[in-house]
Symmetry: C2
């Protein structure tokens, strides 16, 4: 795996920066963020079931979903999409309902790298440095890493190769 997730959470500021490259066209990675039938297959840690109540990935739209972990505990999330530009850019709010009112704003840049590859860059900004630190401590990085691995398997070059091999 060469397309590792990189996370940077500098001390004293309320944001988390992340970067991840994919062996997949930018349109495929963007579409996997737009289409709830695809989102459900990759977002979140391995072994979680995702139930999407709303997913309206357009400027001014909103979303709500729950994740259920293997022990059956449910976690709700919701937010609004401030800006969506196809194959390029997204801004959304993000609230974990277990920490009400600690709403983050998240920016995502989708960059075409040519040769069927792309880069996803993101910045998630919490209300406080302490809230950001708690989000990092919650194991967020682990869940993101597993999610993006499933996303790459879903839309990446590897998925076509596996389909071709018949395995």
């Amino acid at each position: 795996m060469t397309n590792e997730l990189t996370i940077d959470a500098p001390e004293g500021v309320p944001w988390i920066d992340f970067t991840r490259e994919f062996d997949a066209p930018v349109a495929a990675v963007f579409n996997a963020h737009r289409d709830p039938d695809l989102v459900r297959q990759w977002l979140g840690p391995n072994g979680y079931e995702m139930d999407i109540g709303q997913w309206d990935f357009v400027s001014g739209g909103g979303y709500r979903y729950t994740h259920r972990n293997p022990e059956g505990m449910e976690f709700g999330f919701h937010g609004l999409f401030h800006t969506i530009r196809d194959d390029e850019f997204a801004i959304q709010t993000f609230e974990f309902e277990g920490a009400p009112d600690e709403v983050a704003i998240e920016f995502m840049w989708f960059e075409d790298l040519g040769d069927g590859r792309c880069r996803l860059r993101g910045r998630s900004i919490g209300r406080t440095v302490e809230g950001r630190d708690a989000m990092v401590a919650s194991g967020m990085e682990h869940g993101m890493r597993e999610g993006y691995e499933r996303l790459e398997a879903l839309v990446g070059a590897g998925s076509a190769a596996r389909a071709g091999s018949g395995s």
Copy 2:
């Protein structure tokens, strides 16, 4: 004027904190944020004309407005209301269209102080420290100060007193 606006923009973080007390009930100050016919009368610097295209002050709603300064220059703004709780709390996104994609998230707490007084506390968090610094340098504080003075004149104890004096 005892209810001065206080602004705090600590170095190295992307947020601005502000506080302002009003000689007005919390419900009146909240309503002046909800009702576009009132918002139009106080939001922004003195001498600006406000044209509200959308103002849907509910959770999941959105807004767009323009300010026109005395020289006729227009400035557009838009955002979404992530959370609205009556007489208590609001979270919104905020974009000045002259700096596209530099979207802030803003938290406002409306606090009842008793005796017909209230306190408004806010935190506005930009995407970068540099963007926050540019917002402060743009004269934001001046516009906020004038706006809140007009808000207090609109709904505060002083408005009733002036009406009573017939001036």
